[in-house]
Subunit: 212 residues, 2 copies
């Protein structure tokens, strides 16, 4: 009588196959240039079959969104062992930027696209575990910095929001192509990666001076 269980396993397996294929195609061609038909062709099923396993394209997006968040959180895990919280904060910034550059399409999915957030809102999900986990890692580090005397008289949450806004802004400008269009960067022959590192350094320097 394990039929139902096996069917459920098969179902999840098929979902995984679809997601894996979609993920691969998204990385290759970018998000907007992959259609349901492309995914169907890749897994050698008809387009309609996809809709037996996912409500619509947004549900696929959202599933990948969760996976991408797990990837990002994994990038942060090794940094937990850095004892000095300020050094850790700095390395988190670097890791964040590195992730955004290396996984551009995934980063867009995580933080730039509106669809995943809209899907979340449509599902009436009030929680958002993956997102909270990533932000908490930042907020905790900020809190520990404050315990060590940095950023005194700042609200921990507000301060964390600020650092996230900065780092995201830098990544977003890079991925949208705006960074390379700034006059100074156009005319210099510095690589975009270098520009980003320098801008991050400027921010870290700024924070460093806040140690009372």
């Amino acid at each position: 009588m394990g039929v139902k269980e096996r069917k459920e396993r098969d179902r999840q397996e098929m979902r995984e196959i679809i997601l894996k294929s979609a993920y691969k195609l998204f990385l290759e061609r970018g998000f907007d240039d992959v259609s349901i038909r492309n995914v169907a062709e890749a897994i050698e099923y008809s387009p309609a079959t996809i809709y037996l396993y996912f409500k619509d394209k947004n549900e696929i997006i959202h599933a990948l969104h969760r996976q991408a968040f797990e990837m990002l959180n994994k990038q942060f895990q090794p940094l937990a062992k850095i004892a000095d919280p300020f050094a850790r904060l700095s390395e988190m910034g670097k890791a964040y930027i590195k992730f955004a550059i290396k996984n551009a399409e995934m980063y867009k999915l995580l933080f730039i696209r509106s669809e995943p957030m809209e899907h979340l809102a449509n599902c009436q999900e009030t929680e958002w575990k993956e997102g909270d986990m990533a932000f908490d890692a930042l907020a905790q580090t900020v809190a520990q910095c404050q315990q060590k005397g940095y950023f005194k008289n700042f609200d921990t949450h507000q301060f964390s929001m600020m650092t996230w806004s900065f780092t995201h802004g830098l990544c977003a400008l890079r991925l949208s192509g705006h960074l390379g269009r700034v006059k100074e960067e156009r005319e210099s022959n510095r690589k975009l990666d270098q520009i980003m590192n320098e801008t991050l350094s400027t921010f870290i320097q700024t924070l460093q001076k806040l140690k009372k």
Copy 2:
């Protein structure tokens, strides 16, 4: 023999009509939900006619992109009369955020969408007057702050990049719907506008402490 001149005027007029209609529809429905056919219907011409005046949809986007930049630069103009450069910098941040919230679709066009930048690259345009103007307004203010003793030992350009990254990041997170999904913000009943202002304040405070 002024026929050619009149025809050129008519041509520009038609381009304006198309742009005006497209702009209106974009504001109403958002960018992705307006098709060439919608624009054509609004101006009571066939879709193919649009292609006699614009190479493709991207050229329309780019034309609106330029107009949006002029709008943004106009928002900054009144701030030029603020004598204290630090106060001006602060007000520029506020004006920037206000613009992003009030003209969400235009902001997306300006700084989030990749298409306008891609179009710029495809045209082999090396210059970017509108963009430079906006950034220069920021860089000049930063430079004047430095003359007054703020942000000493920082590179003007790097520092300007940092402030832009922060402000853009904040706006981008808001417009993509991520801001309202942060745990603390979910659970508080503060308005998103208020959150943004508080985060900006935190940033301004941070900068203020950099006055040697």
